[in-house]
Each structure stands twice: as C-alpha cells, then as structure tokens.
Amino acid sequence: MNSLILHTASRLLHPLLLLYAVYLLFSGHNVPGGGFCAGLIGAASFALHTFAHDVPSARKLLRADPHTLIGTGLLFAMGSALLSAFRGQAFMTGLWGGFDLSGLGHVSVGTPVIFDTGVFLVVLGVTLLIIFTLSES
C-alpha cells in the first residue's frame, strides 16, 4: 500500500510500539503485562511496517529470521528454568538477585525476567511468521 500518511504514521509509530512492548515486558512481573502481550505489541509494530511498505523491507528491519527468534526464545525460557535445577532447587524455581543503583534505589533481577524475555521472543517470532507467510501468499 503506497500511502504517504501510512508511511509517516508507521515511521512514527514503529519505535513507539516497540518501546511500549519493552515497557510491558519489564513491568509484567508486578502489574498487567508480561512477555505474551509485549510480544503481540512488538509483532504489531512490524505488522504495521509490513502493511505500510512490504514484506521484504519488514524482514530487513527485523534482521533476524522469525524461526531464529522462536528458537532463541525457547532456549531463553528453558535456560531460565534449568538454572534453578543446576543450583539444586526444583525445576523452574525463580532465583532472585539484585544490585543497588546509587540514588535510584534497588533493582531486583531474577530468572522470571529471562523466562518472560523468552516468551516475548517466541510470541514475536510466531506472530511475525504467520503475518509474513500470509502476506507473501
């Protein structure tokens, strides 16, 4: 679709949507959000680009192949689940660590974040795979 409005809108909205996806991903542990809807929003931003331009340029923008995204995401999720098992705790137990940012407060980092990142990548990959395949056919 060759529309100037859409081109401009997609150029503005694409980074905004991605930023929002990342925000949802990290805020998901305490409030609504998380890997799944972050993945959907992220996929929507690329879908918008696909509609505004075409599939090859969206693929170029994504850089990674959707299959690779799915695979990496699964590895992330499994990695976070296995970490606790190697530490002698039950499979998939959340491990937490943290550090202090001077003046900004305490930051907690845990394996659930890695798991959520994995979910994010899988959802992003699967949705984009579907969208790309459908628009190419």
């Binding site: 679709m1 909205l13 949507l17 929002y20 949802l24 409030v31 609504p32 929003i41 918008l48 509609f51």
Partner: protein
C-alpha cells in the same frame, strides 16, 4: 457521590449508547467499508469506556489495556484496508 463519579457514570452510559449504534452499523453495513469503519469505531469506544472506567474505579493499571487496544485497533484497521485494497472491491 463526587462530581467525578457522576460525570463518569453519565459518560459511560452515553458511550454504551453509542456502542449500540456502532454495533448496529456493524451488523447492517451494506458495504465492507461500512463494517470496517464500524469496527474501528467500536474499538475506539471501548478505549473510551476503559479510560472512563479507570477514572471511575481509580485503578490506573487498567489504562494500559486502553493503550494496547488503541494501538492494536489502528493496526487492525490498516490490515483490513490492505485486504480490501488487494481484493479490489469496496
């Protein structure tokens, strides 16, 4: 009963009322374009309802749902538009 809650209640009922007409257009809509616009209107109304409801119950977390819906409904309408364009029929 504060002023805010009264306003919220009135607005919510008005939005619901408009939703009724939007859905009627969606069901009736002689052309596909009518339906697409009706669908877009519906989602915009839902965004409004969520926003008002957020104020009504004082739960800012719910606003995220409205933001997500607003962003996605835009993409959804565009997808519909491309589909209509590609089919070459209104």
């Amino acid at each position: 009963m504060t002023l805010v809650s009264i306003v919220a209640e009135v607005t919510l009922s008005m939005l619901t009322f408009s939703m009724f007409f939007a859905l009627m257009r969606l069901a009736q809509g002689p052309t596909l374009a009518d339906r697409v616009v009706a669908l877009d209107l519906t989602s915009t109304l839902v965004v409004g309802i969520i926003a008002i409801y957020t104020i009504y119950v004082k739960e800012p977390v719910l606003l995220q749902a409205a933001v997500v819906l607003a962003l996605l409904s835009f993409v959804g309408t565009i997808a519909f538009a491309t589909y209509v364009e590609r089919r070459g029929r209104p």
